[in-house]
């Protein structure tokens, strides 16, 4: 056997020394930091602005930190800003948004996941044709469909209510979500599906007992997509429902989009940040699952 003589001090031995500030690392983190600045700059401006008073904003330095921090705009955006004659800020629509969000997210994901599952595992003749049409549907500008869908909903007797809106969200979420789910389920081992069939589980049995528990990550991905989309939706919310049901974004729009009169930028910023909070919380909460889920959904094309 080889003799292991004493180690020569100058010789490389053990782990390769790593420079903390190697050129590579500086490049890597430098780039990421630069990019992060680009991404975070608007956020910074928004936060800073939302903490300033209007006179300070009029002075025009958007990047300057507030000389005098005020939380007034936040309070106003949440509880005082007027929408027409109702002066209770975003808080008014918040629960409506939640009421719309929950069933819309659940229904759209439920429908799309079942579609994706059927397309991946239970192919029948013609399924691909419908799916292709569905994907093309993702490219139709939705303004075009506003009136026909109004007519459709009227015929279904759903116009003006919560369920009409839920249906609309389900329809518009369907193309991308179905694509996502289909790819995810296709990537799952087919033998598992076969085993369940041999075990006598039917279409729904396999979906609920086998597929569903195994695809939580993609459900989280879909949820994030839908929560973001539906929470921030304004047009559908306002077109297909009545004032009792107007989501928070209507208030946001009202605060932000007043054509005439004074624009309170600080309140606008605070309102936007407040509105974005719910999706942001969901991002933070499900960061890791998000990545894993997408992997399975996206990788197989």
């Amino acid at each position: 056997m080889a003799d292991t003589t004493a180690q020569n001090g100058s010789e490389p031995w053990g782990p390769k020394p790593r420079k903390r500030f190697s050129r590579k690392n500086i490049m890597l983190y430098g780039t990421l930091l630069m990019v992060s600045i680009y991404y975070a700059l608007p956020l910074y401006v928004m936060i800073v602005t939302s903490l300033k008073g209007m006179p300070e904003i009029r002075m025009g330095n958007v990047f300057g930190p507030p000389m005098e921090i005020t939380f007034e705009p936040w309070v106003k955006a949440w509880a005082e800003a007027c929408t027409g004659i109702n002066c209770d800020g975003l808080s008014r629509g918040f629960w409506n948004s939640v009421r719309i969000l929950v069933p819309s997210v659940i229904l759209s994901i439920a429908v799309a996941s079942v579609n994706g599952y059927a397309l991946a595992n239970w192919k029948f003749k013609g399924a691909d044709v419908f799916f292709t049409i569905l994907i093309l549907g993702a490219f139709i500008p939705y303004q075009v469909m506003i009136y026909p869908i109004v007519i459709l909903l009227r015929e279904l007797g759903l116009y003006g209510g919560l369920w009409g809106l839920v249906l609309v969200h389900t329809i518009f979420g369907m193309p991308i979500l179905t694509l996502l789910f289909r790819n995810y389920f296709t990537a799952m081992p087919e033998e598992l599906f076969k085993a369940a069939r041999v075990d006598g589980a039917g279409f729904w049995g396999i979906y609920f007992r086998i597929m569903l528990p195994m695809s939580l990550p993609i459900f989280v991905v879909a949820m994030i997509l839908q929560v973001t989309g539906i929470w921030n939706d304004f047009l559908f919310g306002v077109i297909y429902t009545k004032p009792d049901l107007y989501p928070m974004t209507v208030q946001l729009n009202n605060i932000v989009n007043s054509v005439q009169g004074v624009k309170e930028y600080n309140v606008n910023m605070a309102a936007t940040l407040l509105t974005g909070l719910v999706p942001l919380v969901i991002y933070f909460a499900s960061g890791k699952l998000f990545v894993r889920g997408i992997a399975a959904g996206a990788v197989k094309g």
Binding site: L28, L136, G137, L152, L179, N232, T275
Partner: protein, 307 residues
């Protein structure tokens, strides 16, 4: 001994069940999809196309006027500018989203510290509604109190950066914000794709002495085709519908320099109360999407069997 002999024909002759009832549950479950595809997407499309031959104004009406709407559409400078803008914006946004999304994903994939933090920062624009973030970008890019003035304040008096106020480059100004908002999501998709690449490919490239960037370009990217396809669907469907972004930042300005087709459609339908014109414009948009996508969709979804 050869193949076992078959004797005694069995008497019962089970006929194959009716085609329609095979896979019945799957068909039932697909009803929402089929209904959506047929009634909503096809139905709406047909409805739109039919109405594009009418002179509907505020309300959809069936007064046919032939191709008038189309003639006017193609005689309108704003429409032509919109198309051109969409082409420029579309190509740049597609390329940049993919490049930036991929580059960031690749950077995050280098086993870095704080990956979670960086990822969230890059993703957060996706969560914020564009009504106000558009305004913020408008400020940041405003030559009088945005970046230009800050840089000039540092002493570079000749520094010029006013993308939103220069008709020649305004579309690129919009691009800056568009990329800002959308690329984080693409980055996440790409990151996920990268995590799926076989570790041994990396090792092989290292043994071959191939620099990392070359490995990405010549080896990894070609392997991620499916991910790029998914990203492509996401980006292009977003591009075709781009509207808020423009309205929030420039309302199509300066002049009509940053008009886009979706905005043209919207303005014609609801602002100018000329539904027919809006329908004609959207029919043209749809037509181009279909021309580009049908062959691709067939290859991607129709032609290939599950394997």
């Amino acid at each position: 001994m050869a193949i076992a002999e078959i004797q005694g024909q069995s008497t019962e002759d089970v006929r194959p069940p009716v085609r329609l009832f095979r896979n019945l549950n799957a068909k039932i479950a697909s009803i929402p999809m089929i209904m959506t595809a047929v009634f909503v997407f096809i139905g709406c499309t047909v409805w739109t196309i039919v109405h594009s031959f009418t002179k509907s104004r505020l309300l959809p009406k069936l007064d046919f006027v032939g191709l008038d709407q189309y003639e006017r559409l193609w005689g309108t400078r704003r429409w032509l500018v919109s198309i051109e803008n969409l082409a420029i914006y579309g190509i740049c946004s597609l390329v940049l989203s993919l490049v930036i999304g991929f580059t960031l994903a690749a950077l995050l994939d280098r086993k870095i510290r704080f990956e979670n933090t960086f990822r969230t920062i890059l993703l957060y624009p996706f969560a914020l509604s564009f009504i106000v973030t558009g305004l913020v970008w408008q400020w940041i890019l405003n030559p009088d109190f945005g970046i230009q003035s800050v840089v000039r304040g540092w002493g570079w008096e000749s520094f010029t950066f006013d993308p939103l106020y220069n008709p020649d480059i305004v579309i690129f100004g919009i691009l800056i914000a568009g990329i800002w908002q959308g690329s984080g999501f693409i980055m996440v998709v790409m990151l996920a794709g990268l995590r799926g690449i076989d570790e041994e490919i990396w090792k092989a490239a290292r043994v071959d002495g191939i620099p990392t960037w070359k490995t990405y370009i010549f080896v990894v990217i070609p392997m991620m085709r499916p991910v790029f396809v998914t990203a492509l669907v996401l980006i292009t469907s977003g591009i075709v519908k781009v509207y808020d972004l423009v309205v929030a930042q420039t309302s199509g300005g300066p002049g009509i320099a940053s008009e886009v087709p979706a905005k043209y459609v919207y303005d014609k339908m609801f602002q100018a109360q000329n539904l027919g014109q809006g329908f004609a414009a959207s029919t043209m948009m749809l037509l181009s999407v279909v021309i580009i996508l049908i062959p691709w969709a067939y290859l991607e979804f129709g032609g290939k069997k599950r394997g």
